[in-house]
Symmetry: C2
Subunit: 418 residues, 2 copies
Amino acid sequence: MDIKVYVLEKAMDAKEGARALAKASSKQKNLVLLKMAEALKNRAKELISENKKDIKFAEKKGISKALIDRLTLNEKRINEMSQGLIEVAGLPDPVGEITKMWQRPNGMTVGRMRVPIGIIGIIYESRPNVTADAAGLCLKAGNAVLLRGGSEAINSNKAIVNVLRDVAKKHGLHEGAVTFIDIPDREAIMEMLKLEGIVDLIIPRGGEGLIRFVTENSRIPVLKHYKGVCHVFVDRDADLKMAEEICFNAKVQRPGTCNAMETMLVDKKIAKSFLTNMIRRFKEAGVRLKGCHFTRKIDSSLEKAQEEDFYKEYLDLMLNVKIVGDIDDAMAHIAKYSSSHSDAIVTRNYDKAMRFLKEVDSSAVFVNASTRLNDGFQFGLGAEIGISTDKIHARGPMGLEELTCTKFIVFGNGQLRE
Amino acid sequence: MDIKVYVLEKAMDAKEGARALAKASSKQKNLVLLKMAEALKNRAKELISENKKDIKFAEKKGISKALIDRLTLNEKRINEMSQGLIEVAGLPDPVGEITKMWQRPNGMTVGRMRVPIGIIGIIYESRPNVTADAAGLCLKAGNAVLLRGGSEAINSNKAIVNVLRDVAKKHGLHEGAVTFIDIPDREAIMEMLKLEGIVDLIIPRGGEGLIRFVTENSRIPVLKHYKGVCHVFVDRDADLKMAEEICFNAKVQRPGTCNAMETMLVDKKIAKSFLTNMIRRFKEAGVRLKGCHFTRKIDSSLEKAQEEDFYKEYLDLMLNVKIVGDIDDAMAHIAKYSSSHSDAIVTRNYDKAMRFLKEVDSSAVFVNASTRLNDGFQFGLGAEIGISTDKIHARGPMGLEELTCTKFIVFGNGQLRE
């Protein structure tokens, strides 16, 4: 089979789906989402049996238990996928919203209307739930989705897509709204990335290798999520008890996430009083600590933090601790080492709070709150298709709005260009 | 000289400029813009003498008169550049604006704040005025600009950049705010396009060849402007006199622009009464007309429009005329042939006006107004760095807002992730 032709055919199918979706009413889209949710539960047996094929193959290949767990579909997970679609159905439809409207001196009224982007390509790795989640969000925002999942989950993904397509078709929506490329070859990704003018946006979801590959080869705009090297700065004017709770939460509550703290910056003026208890608490929670020169003067049991450690996304119970002279020092460290994902200050000083908010250039900047709150649900976006570390189009958690664009609309009564 | 190293050094200079600009107040940025405007006029002689070198070289190479005209700097044009900077200084500063703010159930307040993008790379061709225009807009929005102009204008561009940098430096802004790559080689563009993580956005301004080259080779997000194949649909319920004025304006007022009409679609019910006068008027204005089968039944003097003509951006006094059955026919034609730039309907029918606005997917959709009005100044954006035909980040005319992004800001009082 010619992969180029195959991928193009899939994209043309998605294009039909996108046309149908752009015209669909909120009512119709919501109905389809609810019916999809129902069908996933009704056809759970079929999904689990297809998933078993993937698991059997993964076990043969000797894949790690953790990865097999991520790959596994059971009734609970299918219910979660189903529930996800029900929640998306309940969210307000972003399409058709007029975000602004104003009148010009010549009498014409100009506005910006939110419209679907068109076709969104999602390139992802092992978790099969991404298939339903991404399809649901794209559908609600009026976009067709062109999915390319990992080879490990290919049978599970195909089964989920079949369920979703059957529902779309049955309820009068072109089934191209949910399209799946079932060629595990990387060449299929390469062909997808050349479809500029047909596919409007690519969202890769997976490890750094995948994201780098996509960015380097795509002619289509890419929204991506690189690593999160996040900081909490404990200012001399902080409520130290609050600072302790925030730092502990930012590191320990779920260390494997992108918005977990990797380096704690502590103002020298309060370092001793703050660190004594904080270090004890981290140690009790099993956090491995690496300290700067000054930190190790306070507690010599800490390992020495190396320059390169400050660039690392540990995604684990590990933490760098660095003592800084003041807020300027702290912000200079963040400007140099942060991945511009999530950074926080703990302080009771108004001026420093406002300076930090304004001057730190990250997707989310916090005063007196945990970096772990950088999340679409926590921020109230209602859903999340990822957290963008890009600055173009979307930055930070991406909800339904970020899956749309706007067009200008003009109500005239005969206006001409003079 | 190693081009890779040279370009990277320039980018690092721009990075310093971006840092300084991100912290600059509106007052400081406006002062610098006004001083730049003054300096361009004061040093007009120097600019004109450098420009003469470019012109001499162009004449030697036998370049067309039209291109030499585009390249030429004289006092009038320098005054225009200067005036452009003064106008940008007068616009509201988009940076720091809080676009939304809301409270979450846990008591934290979440908002979106407009911030500079960082470093914007502008790759452009012959007109030297782009140098000052682009630098001014980027500076106002808090971005450093990394300019790479065409080889034909290299002496003029360098001279303009020197003036702007001198002013920036003199007024306490890092001169890296305006950075110029003075290597005419395409390899310099290639190296620019690899600077992902340093340069945040690329805007190519020039012909289709340049734009395609940039899109295919960039690892950095690109905002681009492809061609404008624009339509006016004259509905059976149109005010025919208004329709005639709008169509005439859309084609004739300035045919060489991207928002000029290339195909006029006419409802069959009013085709005969409308076209008789309209065709006469176009012919008097020297417009070469190509008609569909049915149009040529009304006026056999028209050339026959070929299928491929409907995809063409004439940028000239040429026009396709096609008779369609109804609004559905018209919108189907637009969906197939339009470049999604600017499309208009002329009608007095409310339902059809609203359907056209909603269903036609173009950067600007007009009811009863000329497509020629798709423009940043006409829409009241105050300035324009181009018209994006992309759907990601910016669509349609791009003003200062489109040269910014947003970050999330959070005011908390101890919120944790549960």
